[in-house]
């Protein structure tokens, strides 16, 4: 009888200890997860907190939509494989062959803003405009032209190739002034295949579901 009472007390104590350890472990896991996100630059203060919920199927599906926009002339023409921007719906080399330059803003008497004004110039075949018209700089060319969906997805999330952007910065980039200019291309130029809202939704979905790249083949 005495032995039974003693073993009951010991049993209760074991349960209590296990419960305390479990709660502490749970708290520690939550803290560690949060800390991990801080380190990766995902979890910052307002205005936007990106939460990654990995889902490779949704992610790849979203990127396929993103890819159609990035490879459209409105985006790709300023992300050429060489150092000369592209022009037109067929993405031919820009007339006059202006060069990228170190900062992406042209060289000598052929700087982008010499012709590209802060706003679109009215009329057909006139230079489209933006306050900050430029190509990616020479040390981070961010080439879209010729890239497969797999290659481009990998490139976009590589800080060494994307201008050192973390997840949050990548999400913000959807509203960059020059990105938005793709949907205000000036007279006679086709819009990208998705609206900016659709593009942004697909872009954020891709990034927040794990930024998975479509298969390489």
């Amino acid at each position: 009888m005495k032995t039974q009472v003693t073993s009951k007390v010991a049993y209760k104590g074991t349960i209590r200890t296990a419960a305390v350890i479990s709660i502490l472990a749970f708290i520690f896991c939550i803290m560690a997860f949060g800390l991990n996100k801080e380190i990766r630059g995902i979890h910052h203060s307002a205005p936007f907190i990106a939460v990654v919920k990995k889902d490779s199927v949704t992610s790849v599906k979203a990127f396929k939509q993103v890819y159609t926009v990035l490879m459209s002339p409105r985006c790709m023409n300023c992300h050429p494989a060489g150092d000369i921007p592209l022009q037109g719906e067929d993405s031919h080399l820009h007339m006059m062959y202006p060069k990228r330059g170190v900062d992406g803003k042209g060289v000598y008497a052929m700087k982008c803003s010499n012709c590209h004004q802060p706003v679109n110039t009215p009329g057909l075949h006139t230079p489209p405009g933006n306050e900050n018209w430029h190509l990616p700089p020479a040390n981070s060319k961010m080439v879209f032209q010729g890239k497969t969906a797999y290659q481009l997805a990998k490139q976009l999330i590589d800080p060494a190739q994307n201008g050192h952007k973390n997840l949050e910065k990548l999400i913000e980039h959807a509203d960059d002034g020059l990105v938005l200019a793709g949907w205000n291309p000036g007279e006679g130029r086709k819009l990208p295949p998705l609206s900016h809202a659709q593009f942004k939704k697909a872009w954020i979905t891709w990034l927040t579901t794990g930024a998975y790249a479509p298969k390489s083949k």
Partner: protein, 157 residues
């Protein structure tokens, strides 16, 4: 009223701020050395310097130049003796001459930024300036000469 400085002289202009700078320069201020070529930034005949950069004045609105410094071919030098002007003269570059104020203004930016430009640098800088007479070889030769003259004037360069 829009205030603009052209060739060091300040002007107060009561004109539409959306007027092309080229019209302001030629029709309002009366400096006709800068030429109208295409009107859509394709030929380079209208190049002037806006804060030192070779902008195409046919598509640049007056509003962009408000409060800024504009230099036209008339103001590039005091006695038409900018190295590019001297070299253009020595090499007899112009044929009809229509595009050459724009050509010289573009060349002046190249020479400011590169004291010893290669043929490749000249191509990169001058590809936006079209010459219907095809004086390109003489333009190239004159720019090399202008670079030499400039280095003699400013040995440090």
């Amino acid at each position: 009223m829009t205030t603009i400085t052209i060739n060091g002289k300040q002007h107060q202009l009561d004109v539409d701020p959306q007027m092309p700078l080229l019209w302001v320069i030629r029709d309002i201020v009366g400096l006709t050395g800068t030429k109208y070529g295409c009107g859509v930034a394709q030929c380079g005949a209208c190049v002037v310097h806006l804060n030192g950069e070779a902008v195409r004045s046919c598509v640049t609105k007056l509003s962009r130049a408000e409060g800024q410094n504009v230099v036209t071919i008339e103001g590039l030098s005091n006695y038409n003796d900018h190295p590019a002007q001297v070299a253009w003269n020595k090499e007899n570059v112009p044929q009809c001459g229509y595009c050459h104020s724009g050509q010289i203004m573009s060349a002046a930016v190249l020479l400011r930024e590169n004291a010893d430009p290669s043929d490749e640098d000249i191509d990169a800088a001058m590809a936006g300036n079209i010459c219907r007479c095809g004086t390109y070889q003489r333009i190239r030769k004159a720019i090399h000469l202008a670079a030499q003259l400039q280095r003699k004037e400013e040995p440090g360069k």
